[in-house]
């Protein structure tokens, strides 16, 4: 059975779209981190700068899994590893 290039490109685009769904996880995680940081600042406004920097560090680390999905999408769209 033979597939032509356009079919593979279309499937790669669908795969790229599916890979970007990985962004849901970091979105939820960063939201939880931001919510807890807001609660912490509300309880102790003096520690605002410490809380903010800790929150940003944690969010940036949590973002990694979403970025892996983004990388897969980029590879599928622009490097086209599946096209013979």
């Amino acid at each position: 059975m033979e597939f032509n290039t356009n079919f593979i490109l279309g499937c790669s685009a669908i795969g790229a779209g599916l890979a970007v769904i990985a962004g849901i996880g970091p979105g939820v995680g960063q939201g939880i981190a931001a919510g807890h940081a807001a609660a912490a600042v509300g309880r102790n406004p003096g520690a605002k700068s410490d809380v903010t920097s800790t929150m940003l560090l944690g969010q940036a680390v949590a973002e990694t899994t979403g970025l892996y999905g983004l990388l897969i999408a980029m590879l599928l769209l622009f490097v086209k590893p599946l096209v013979p």
Binding site: L57, A60, E63, T64, L67, Y68, F78
Partner: protein, 238 residues
């Protein structure tokens, strides 16, 4: 086919380009835009360093503007490293300060029309490898061979392969995080300027502030913070 989108898609350009090729041991090697941009960033840093050196040699009692800036930068980096690494900070202020300034300037160089060098996996992977070597050098130096083996067999000896995978994943995840963040900014800006060229007048400045300044600064901070945490972890003996 949507002609409009496809035609304007021809202007989208965020790839690394070759500038000129040369032969090395029978292989064709390319000088790419990344090399050129790294060189420009390095020249800017070297120029700043020469100026800072001159100003610090003739340091005045009442500091001028430039001396103030230099002192501010050095003090900020010193406090950051000292705050995280504590008593192990002594030997690492130079290293962490250097990679901090280099990554920060690389990330925000997108503002000045360069393609950020950190949007090339070759650059970030080199930074990750440097961190990896530093971590393991310090691990062997402080914990000795016995401590390293004990760390590998942490809960039980059968756990060793998983610990090895965890060690190898550190530089890869560090470098991929930096690379993918900056690359996503580069791609977004290229899409905005390529597809919306007719109406991209002033508002892309806001996107530049987010993708280049904010994201770049945060990722620089995260890279240095994680490097410091890992090194402190490697230095700590039981």
């Amino acid at each position: 086919m949507g002609e409009g989108i496809l035609l304007s898609a021809a202007d989208i350009d965020f790839m690394v380009h070759g500038v000129f090729p040369y032969e090395l041991f029978g292989q064709t090697v390319w000088i790419t835009t990344t090399h050129v941009c790294v060189l420009i960033v390095m020249l800017v840093i070297i120029g700043f360093c020469i100026a800072a050196n001159r100003v610090v040699k003739h340091a005045a009692e009442v500091p001028g503007t430039f001396q103030n800036i230099v002192e501010l930068v050095v003090e900020m980096l010193d406090n950051m490293v000292g705050g995280v690494m504590g008593k192990y900070a002594v030997g690492f202020r130079n290293y962490i300060g250097t990679i901090f300034i280099f990554i920060l300037l690389s990330n925000i160089s997108g503002l000045f029309g360069l393609r950020p060098p950190t949007a090339d996996y070759g650059v970030t992977f080199a930074l990750g490898i440097m961190t990896f070597v530093t971590i393991h050098f310090n691990k062997f130096k402080h914990q000795k061979v016995k401590g390293v083996i004990r760390g590998l067999c942490d809960p039980w000896p059968i756990w060793a392969p998983i610990n090895v995978i965890g060690d190898v994943a550190v530089p890869i995840s560090l470098s991929l995080r930096l690379f993918a963040n900056i690359l996503s900014g580069v791609v977004m800006m290229a899409l905005v300027y390529g597809l919306l060229a007719k109406i991209a007048v002033i508002w892309p400045a806001a996107l530049h502030v987010y993708f280049d300044l904010f994201s770049g600064a945060i990722q620089t901070y995260v890279f240095c913070m994680l490097t410091m945490t890992y090194i402190t972890d490697a230095c700590t003996t039981e």
